[in-house]
């Protein structure tokens, strides 16, 4: 990916890391930054018993995947080369392709693939440790400042 003048990858990673540490809910779920380049962010979270949605199978609740996807998409918007000052989710659709394997961490990768003056368009995928695609997301986000 091409970088705009003055945008260094390390700055973006640092920004994405800060973005996540200030979000109480991201901390509560144990989310951690894997990688960030301008407009593309990867975030992971460990499997935990308390975030299970179906006690029969031990599969994580869909809402946990939503939170992970939403955070990852928001971070992709914030690290976009146009550097919006703020962003908020307008809408987010998640397709649950298959259950994430119980006990495995889930990794999401979001890409802000189009940006206008007011709206950012983002897509994301989530995989478990077996690199199995578990969910995809498509969303639009506000662009502020």
């Amino acid at each position: 990916m091409e970088l705009l003048p003055g945008t260094r990858t390390e700055d973006v990673a640092e920004m994405a890391r800060i973005f996540m540490t200030v979000i109480p809910h991201a901390r509560a779920l144990g989310m951690e930054l894997v990688e960030a380049t301008p407009g593309v962010v990867e975030i992971a979270m460990p499997w935990s018993e308390e975030f299970v949605g179906d006690p029969r199978t031990g599969v994580l609740h869909g809402g946990v995947i939503s939170a992970l996807m939403d955070t990852c998409c928001g971070a992709a918007v914030m690290t976009h080369p146009t550097r919006p000052a703020t962003t908020a989710t307008i809408d987010l659709r998640i397709d649950y392709l298959r259950s994430a394997t119980p006990g495995q961490r889930v990794r999401t990768r979001a890409e802000c693939f189009h940006m206008t003056r007011s709206v950012a368009f983002v897509r994301a995928v989530a995989r478990d440790e077996g690199d199995t695609l578990v969910a995809t997301a498509t969303g639009s986000f506000t662009v502020g400042g």
Binding site: H25, F51, D54, R56, T89, D91, L92, I94
Partner: protein, 148 residues
């Protein structure tokens, strides 16, 4: 087992639903889900506002509760699972519209099962805080019903 007790068991036994702290308010035939505010639910500490993922999780939980409520009305029914719970519907897709920021206070949500088929169900959900006329989020989801 009454559908009231199924709802109570789901709230008590599904770990993430417990973690969120979701409860229900039953008035006659209507089921309202309640999300008590807590700091760990914050997504934007400056406003402060609920995390979009929390809103999505609350809406999805409400959709499943509404689906169970509609299915266990004595005419439909669900196959048994473990721990005194029926087998749960699986989310196929879930789309959330964020209408305004969820603020740092309790939230409420109600689901409407638009279509309940043998295999597939379509559910709409709306969440509000101060006034039901000013929803802060709405969602539409499709679910795969457990097969006996």
């Amino acid at each position: 087992m009454t559908r009231e007790s199924v709802i109570d068991r789901l709230l008590a036994r599904v770990p993430y639903v417990r973690w969120l702290g979701v409860t229900v308010d039953r008035r006659g035939d209507e089921l309202t889900a309640v999300l008590p505010f807590s700091d760990k639910l914050i997504g934007n500490p400056v406003l402060p506002a609920l995390h979009g993922g929390v809103t999505a999780a609350f809406l999805e939980t409400t959709a499943v509760l509404g689906l169970l409520w509609a299915t266990l009305d004595g005419r439909h029914g669900l196959p048994d699972g473990d721990e005194g719970l029926p087998r749960l519907p699986k989310t196929i897709d879930f789309t959330v519209d964020y209408l305004r920021s969820g603020t740092a206070r309790d939230a409420y949500a109600r689901a409407r099962v638009v279509r309940l088929g043998r295999r597939y169900a379509s559910v709409q959900v709306e969440a509000w805080q101060d006034s039901r006329d000013r929803p802060f989020a709405q969602a539409n989801g499709h679910f795969l019903m457990p097969q006996g």
